[in-house]
């Protein structure tokens, strides 16, 4: 199955990003394809490389970046939501891109499922 993921919540405050990550990993392990991760609402703050949590904690942004590169999953942050929250190309994680909601529409169209986390 081809799956798109929509993440609507920022990191740490909510478990949504962790759950989305675990879901994405499990889906791939089961042989499904994760097509793309789209970040919306506070979800766009998952994509800043300025994230610097204590060493004994998971780095959510770095984890998504690594996931993107290992599995070839594109990470898109909505441009309008990003601009509101101070997210721009300069601080974006590797594997991330800022794009419009048209991209989310495309993701919704071309996948068997769009799975939403948070919000």
């Amino acid at each position: 199955m081809k799956i798109g993921i929509l993440l609507k919540e920022g990191p740490y405050n909510s478990q949504a990003s962790d759950t989305a990550f675990k879901f994405a990993e499990a889906a791939i392990k089961k042989g499904h394809t994760v097509d793309a991760l789209f970040l919306y609402n506070d979800g766009v703050t998952n994509a800043t490389k300025l994230m610097d949590p204590p060493r004994d904690d998971r780095n959510i942004a770095a984890r998504w970046s690594e996931f993107s590169q290992v599995h070839g999953v594109e990470i898109f942050a909505c441009i309008a939501a990003s601009k509101r929250r101070g997210i721009n190309d300069d601080i974006l994680i590797q594997g991330g891109a800022i794009t419009g909601l048209g991209t989310l529409t495309d993701i919704a169209i071309r996948n068997d499922r769009l799975v939403t986390f948070g919000g």
Binding site: Y40, N41, G100, L101, T105, D106, A108, I109
Partner: protein, 129 residues
Amino acid sequence: MGGVEVGRNAQVKKIMHVLCRAPYGTIYTYEGLEMIMIMAAYGQDLSLVFIGDGVYALKKGQDTSGIGIRGFSRTFMALVDYDVEKLYVDKYSLEERGLSKDDLIVEVAVMNSDKIGKLMKEQDVIIHH
């Protein structure tokens, strides 16, 4: 509005947006509306469902001057220009809040949750806000 060309494939999907929060207090409804406008411009077969405090988004006479946030209830009135005409309101949510169809700024279909559930089953995609 004429509608933007759909990207790679000219497919049209049934996409339902579920608005379940009060319009102010969080940004979910407002950013949800932004998403709805774009998907409408992309010519998708959209429907909107208002459940729980989400019904307040359509209430007449909103005044946001006291909270310093721009009101956006009028945007719901513009949806019809984007060919978004399937607006459903959960009957129980409306009654629970002492509201009726006459309190709402747009024409909607008020229906029971089991009927809304059936509509949800027909969708390709459901996004909540």
